[in-house]
Each structure stands twice: as structure tokens, then as C-alpha cells.
């Protein structure tokens, strides 16, 4: 798997370096290309780390300013994707002050923070009830993510929402793969606990219960 990861990166690597070189030569289209390739990725990272779409847009703007300024210093030691993730993560950490107490999004704010993705990915063939359940679930998952300790939140977001491999996450976070493995596992466990808390005993019908329950009973499986 490691070999496949490296092999897949070889072609991209040349393209990444070429983009950086074109940018340093003054080719404005190079930066536009970088933006179009990575804007959604950066915006989603900022959104999941901040929990606020407006703040995520501001963060994305500043992140791309940094990318613009430093792109010519990209030396190709990692892929451009990893490099941009590192710039983005460092900026988010600085701006969101790593250990500030996060507040749970409530009501309409929660809708915009939690279900922004769910809404944009909504399948028009799904009925209104199904969409409402998905929105409710999205809100609960976003709330649970918001209260995870930052190191766990970063690891879970990079893995489960951005789809990065463990080695890529290790490169982005600047830690060993073993640390990534541990943070993802612990992050998921805490997330499951939080979602379980959101679906107390009397409200087991809530969507979060469906993904948080560690061992569904036979009765529930049948229903």
C-alpha cells in the first residue's frame, strides 16, 4: 500500500513542482490552477475545524494568501496537497487558538455548520423525511466533532472527511504514523461516546444513535 501511495504520487510530484516553478516565474494561471484544485479541500478542512461556514471562508481566503506568498518555496519534499494541508492546518490552529473552549452550534447556526455538506450533497430523489433525518444527523455529527480535542479532531477530519492516508496525515501533522493511528482511534472512540450522549436512553430513535451504538441489539437489527 505504501508503494502504491508513493507510485501514485510520482506523476503528481512533477506537476506540483512545475506549478510552483510557473508561479515563481510569474505565470498567474499557475496559482489559479492551484486554487481550483484545492479550494474545496481547504474550505472543508477549515469548515470542519472551525464549525462555522463564514469563518471557514475567511480562513480559506487567508490560507490561499499564504499559499500565494510561499508557493515558490515549495521544494517538492512532499506533495503539493500535503504541503497545502500543512499551511491550512497551521493557519487554522493559529487563528482558532488551539485550546479555546468551543461552543456547540445551536439552532440555525448548527444547521449551517453541520449540514452544509449534507445539503450540498443531497440526493434529489430522497424524500423530505429522509433529507430531514440526514440534516439532523449532520447537525449532531458536526456538534460532536466541534467538541473533540483538537489533535483528535484534526486526525479524524483528515482521515474520515478528507480521505487522507495515514502517511499523508503524519506528514501534514508532523507526527509519526503510530501517533496518527492512535489519534484516529481515540478520536473515533470519543466521537462515538459524544454521539451516544446526544441520543440519551429515551431518545434512541435519534439519528446519532444509529451510528453511535457500539453493539446494536438483535431486536433493533430486526427493525
Amino acid at each position: 500500500m505504501k508503494a502504491a501511495f508513493i507510485a501514485a504520487g510520482v506523476g503528481l510530484h512533477d506537476l506540483d513542482l512545475e506549478l510552483a516553478q510557473r508561479h515563481s516565474r510569474g505565470d498567474v494561471r499557475a496559482f489559479d490552477e492551484v486554487y481550483s484544485r484545492y479550494a474545496v479541500m481547504v474550505f472543508n478542512l477549515a469548515l470542519r475545524l472551525s464549525g462555522d461556514p463564514d469563518e471557514a471562508a475567511d480562513l480559506t481566503q487567508e490560507i490561499f494568501l499564504r499559499v500565494y506568498r510561499h508557493l515558490d518555496s515549495f521544494g517538492g519534499r512532499s506533495t503539493l496537497k500535503t504541503w497545502i494541508f500543512r499551511v491550512a492546518l497551521n493557519h487554522c490552529r493559529e487563528r482558532l487558538s488551539r485550546f479555546r473552549p468551543l461552543t456547540l452550534p445551536i439552532g440555525e447556526e448548527a444547521d449551517s455548520a453541520g449540514t452544509a455538506g449534507a445539503a450540498s450533497m443531497a440526493d434529489p430523489r430522497r424524500g423530505p423525511e429522509e433529507l430531514a433525518v440526514a440534516a439532523d444527523l449532520g447537525r449532531q455529527v458536526a456538534c460532536a466533532l466541534a467538541v473533540l480535542p483538537p489533535p483528535f479532531r484534526e486526525a479524524v477530519v483528515l482521515r474520515d472527511l478528507q480521505g487522507l492516508a495515514y502517511e499523508e496525515i503524519a506528514a501534514v501533522l508532523g507526527v509519526r504514523v503510530g501517533t496518527v493511528r492512535s489519534r484516529i482511534a481515540r478520536g473515533r472512540e470519543q466521537l462515538r461516546g459524544l454521539l451516544e450522549t446526544m441520543a440519551p436512553a429515551g431518545m434512541r430513535h435519534r439519528p446519532s444513535a444509529a451510528i453511535a451504538d457500539p453493539a446494536p441489539t438483535a431486536e433493533r437489527r430486526e427493525s
Binding site: 474545496v40 474550505f43 490561499f64 452544509a116 455538506g117 450533497m121 455529527v141 474520515d160 495515514y166 451504538d213
Partner: protein, 234 residues
């Protein structure tokens, strides 16, 4: 395999991040162990559930905002020239090299002065004055030379820092190092487990440090006139 599969192994197995031998070992165990299979299924459900968040689309005006921000953030040429002049004055104020007259400094100074003069001349030719707000192409060529020659900070990725207990800590490969503290071999820090008496005493005074230790990171700081390395252990 004795006991049950660890949470880390289950999670990595689910992500396809285990090696071939570990995968085989886990699969043999999972086939025979109900509780581990249930935990794996629960983790799988959680990961699938997370996908409900999906990728959100950035606001449509974001590209324009990014371009606007880039255009407005470029420092004016006259400002860069002023910075260069300031650096030149700083250079002039340095004490003599090697304690006596050095022929190197006048030569370097003359070279730098010439560079500033060329830059100012270019500034005039290109019409880049105080009121020039026109967007420019990405910086290249002589502007970089000036930036580097006058010793501005090299362009590197920003450091991750955290201000805790009135001190600034810089993140460096699993270790938070207090800014200004040398954690290298010259200043080998004294290891202090957080659960030892010394560690407890330290945390009683600087309880906020606990947040840095929470994820297993180590913390290097100056405390009671010595450099200590605090870690979450006994």
C-alpha cells in the same frame, strides 16, 4: 492472539492501514471473536455516519475574495525600499568586524547601496508610487534579491505555537518547546513525569500545561532555573 483486538488495530484495519501479516492475524481473531466483530462493526458505522457531512462547496464569491486579498496585500515598492534602507542603516550601526577595520564592510555596503539605488530607479520607471494600487504579477527577479540580501526572514511554513501559562510554546515533532529554550544536546532537559512528585508540583503551579500533555505530547520549558521535559507518565 490473547485478549481482544486493541482499538487502534481495529481502526487501522478498517482503514486498510495494517500490514499483510497483521491483517491476517486480525481476520483470524475477528472470525472467532464476537465482541471484537461488534466493535469493528460499530466503528464502521461511525465512519459511514461521518460521511453524512460530505464535502461542502465554498461560497461562489470566494475566488474573487482571494484575488482581492492577494492584490491588496502586496506591499508597495516604496515600502519595500524603505525597509531596505532601514536594514542598511542597521548594518551601518554594527560594531567593527573582528574588533578592527575590515575592508569587507565598505565593499558590501557599497554593493547594497547600489542595489537600493537600482531598485529606486526601477520604481520610478515603472510608475510604482505612493498612489499605485494596480494589481501586479507575482513577485519575481530583483524583488527577491533585495528581500534576501537584507536579511528578511526566509519564507518557510509558519510555526505552530500555543500560549499557555503565560509562555509561548512552539510545536516541534511531538514536543512543545518553550520559545527561547534550547532543547538540544547542549541544554539536555531534566525528564519530569507528570505523575511524579516534581511533575505534580509543577502542574500545580502551571496547571494549564495539562492541555499540552493531553494528547501524549511532551513539553520542554524553563522552570526553577533549569530546563525540564514534562511528559504524561509516572
Amino acid at each position: 492472539m490473547s485478549g481482544h483486538i486493541s482499538l487502534e488495530s481495529l481502526s487501522a484495519y478498517l482503514d486498510g492501514e495494517t500490514g499483510p501479516s497483521e491483517t491476517r492475524r486480525l481476520e483470524v481473531h475477528l472470525a472467532a471473536c464476537g465482541p471484537c466483530s461488534s466493535r469493528l462493526e460499530a466503528t464502521r458505522r461511525l465512519v459511514c455516519g461521518l460521511r453524512v457531512l460530505g464535502p461542502a462547496l465554498p461560497p461562489p464569491d470566494l475566488p474573487a475574495r482571494v484575488h482581492g486579498r492577494i492584490a491588496s496585500s502586496r506591499p508597495q515598492r516604496w515600502l519595500r525600499s524603505l525597509r531596505s534602507l532601514r536594514s542598511w542603516l542597521w548594518w551601518q550601526g554594527l560594531p567593527p568586524l573582528h574588533g578592527s577595520f575590515s575592508p569587507a564592510r565598505p565593499l558590501v555596503t557599497a554593493g547594497l547601496a547600489l542595489l537600493v539605488a537600482v531598485l529606486l530607479l526601477q520604481n520610478g520607471e515603472n510608475g510604482g508610487g505612493l498612489g499605485s494600487l494596480a494589481p501586479k504579477l507575482p513577485h519575481a527577479g530583483p524583488e527577491f534579491l533585495v528581500s534576501e540580501a537584507f536579511g528578511e526572514a526566509p519564507q518557510v511554513l509558519p510555526q505552530t505555537t500555543s500560549e499557555v501559562a503565560g509562555r509561548v510554546f512552539v510545536w516541534s515533532d511531538d514536543v512543545w518547546v518553550q520559545r527561547g529554550v534550547d532543547a538540544g544536546p547542549a541544554g539536555q532537559p531534566r525528564a519530569v513525569p507528570a505523575r511524579s512528585p516534581a511533575g505534580r508540583a509543577l502542574l500545580a503551579k502551571l496547571s494549564d500545561l495539562g492541555v499540552l500533555l493531553a494528547d501524549g505530547s511532551r513539553v520542554v520549558l524553563r522552570y526553577n532555573y533549569e530546563t525540564v521535559e514534562l511528559w504524561n507518565g509516572s
